[in-house]
Symmetry: C2
Subunit: 440 residues, 2 copies
Amino acid sequence: MSQINVGIIGFGTVGVGTVQLLLKNADAIAKRIGEPLVIRKIADLDTKTDRGVAVGKEVLTTNAMEVIDDPRIDVVVELVGGLDKAREFILMAMEKGKHVVTANKALLAEFGREIYCSAQAAGVHLGFEASVGGGIPILGALQGGLAANRIETLVGILNGTSNYILTGMTRNGLSYEKAVEQAVKLGFAEDPPTLDVEGTDAAHKLTILLSVITGIPIPFKDIYCEGIGSIGLDDIGFADNFGYRIKLLAIARQGDGWIEARVHPAMIPKDHILANVNEAYNAIYLEGDFVGANLYYGLGAGGRPTASAVVSDIMDVARKMLQGVKGPVFSPGKNMSPLQAMQIRPMEELTSIYYFRFSALDSPGVLSKIAGILGDHEISVSSVIQKGRKDKGAVPVVMLTHEALERNVFKAISLIDRLDIVTDKTVIIRVEEGFPNGNA
Amino acid sequence: MSQINVGIIGFGTVGVGTVQLLLKNADAIAKRIGEPLVIRKIADLDTKTDRGVAVGKEVLTTNAMEVIDDPRIDVVVELVGGLDKAREFILMAMEKGKHVVTANKALLAEFGREIYCSAQAAGVHLGFEASVGGGIPILGALQGGLAANRIETLVGILNGTSNYILTGMTRNGLSYEKAVEQAVKLGFAEDPPTLDVEGTDAAHKLTILLSVITGIPIPFKDIYCEGIGSIGLDDIGFADNFGYRIKLLAIARQGDGWIEARVHPAMIPKDHILANVNEAYNAIYLEGDFVGANLYYGLGAGGRPTASAVVSDIMDVARKMLQGVKGPVFSPGKNMSPLQAMQIRPMEELTSIYYFRFSALDSPGVLSKIAGILGDHEISVSSVIQKGRKDKGAVPVVMLTHEALERNVFKAISLIDRLDIVTDKTVIIRVEEGFPNGNA
């Protein structure tokens, strides 16, 4: 073997970043793996637009099958995104014995089991570092330098767009709508940024992280997912009063015989290192039984950071090829068995601290009525703020609870929301104090 | 091969952590690599003390050669520390064809070239993740998920003890001496913590990081190293006034044809994510040409975090053995050549922003004399603070400069320190604003 031949399907932002990297750092890459990486074919429906990279015309094609069928190509890089086409390309490439590198988180979250098993069956390598956290090499860390640990807790800020929006609300006092508008204008969000603000993108990534941690693909649909759309500036302000910041968190926890997986906005102590991850940055905080608290931080999206992970994955595949290692060496597929299907604990069994913002009429007895219902459901209150009394209309009444059971919380709030004195749906935000402040 | 046999030399804190981990997570480890890891022999001069781990008597020996000579043992784990004995054990083990895992940063910094070359010559694997940053898998990240990048900047808080001391001074207003005392009392520092506070330990780790980044062992003695002993509470306070925190930093930078490597205390902007790494935590901040700003954070010492890295290294070696991969696949040794000896840029060619604290008599004309000498050396001042006028005696005069050349700075300060109006050696602290605030 005197070189490793690469074919790329999808020549958008990440595709262009990947080609730029392969060209710019070609010498160093060849030195690090022992042989050069050569781009043989790039497929994209648009082969006309000038991307500002020096790629010969003969390399470009509009037909993905020219990449998949090319017998010279060793590694197929799937960067088209989306589900159907991408899935088809990857499965066909694997069938032809080609190793695959992909950045496609939605695909791995939805069809992970099929794709991991196909790699296993075909004996090919599958690299997907770029699917989580952009350039942050978190999947490599979990499978490599952290592999000896039982990962007990993982808390991630995995979606740059929603973090950018929440940062704008917190730092600049922008309303949710204004913050979204700004994020779209500056290119940090799609218009509309539905998958991002609803938590779907973060849940996709959490699915993949969990598959790597447990060795068992978790069904994406089992992951509880709640977005940031109901967070108001009021909540940001009250959080600040209580010493918290609001972040969209992806949380996984495992104990003996149970596993938790959920994506939702949460309040975390201001001085926790995760609370200080702002703008479009991503971070993964985790606790292993031996390593203790660890944090990994970097840009979670964008052509260049994502290309960093894609090309590092290609290098990893290339090294294994050159060493004669048959794939996949270590992938979620390896330990999979239908018998091991992992049961995610239902959300109603969660215990947490809760923040409630009630919209209540400013009349006597309101507090006692609300507190009464909470008490009936074994929810005890640790702090109350009642602010901004108006002559008429609703005022916010804000409460923090002690640890309570989610099932009870939702029962109580649904009763409270039916009270005449309550004028709007109560905002509920979970408070995460359960992971030690690594930096107290 | 139906199991991987491990021998350990050194049964202190890290040795015990390693055995605890191998026992506690044995099932998961076996599942992850395909075969169990079995502890065959543990050598330590003290085989009597009960370490609270279930190890059979037949496993313990006072003779390290029983580990090195045991034909059953595949992987030798060196955890004795220090230079001479450790070096001897490792070289002998390699000669016998055994793979080696070590946490010994001093050894790799001082004798890295010899050890990397010996691994290469013997065709064995060498794992040393535990030598830098405790449980933080930074060496794996540099060789794996970041491998496609040119690492342009690396800034590390690599010594937990000095970080603990500086945190105590900053947060609790402790004097340097009190902070050291507390660190010793709470077990965060040896007594005296010379290697830590003088920067030697951080410089050892920076040497190893640079070897991995460049593929060429850097001579440890070429790395500039300055400790935290001259930092006073005054400096912590003035830094705060200017919007900075003081940290002991290990800094490496590379550009076209030049490389910088230095360990010294530095002021960094308070809102930089590195400024918020406190107590005994370590962090490595880096910038790659594609990945952008990344941060890795965790406990940099201690038996359990270090064991996390040691056992993950054993697992990595085990996987390679089971895959039939000959070692070393990727190590600083691979690209080494005397021709490539890397020249570290002399410190006098550094340009930086500087903080000066002069001890000057409170008499007319002091400021103009000092400023005059600075001006003669092309050092321009951006801020001045003169505080605490006393009836007689010296007052601190504090200045921040614009970018200046280190050579000029030391010339100017040596002239200033000879002035009659200057009563004590001027404190000089570099200010690092040159790495983008990843979290602005």
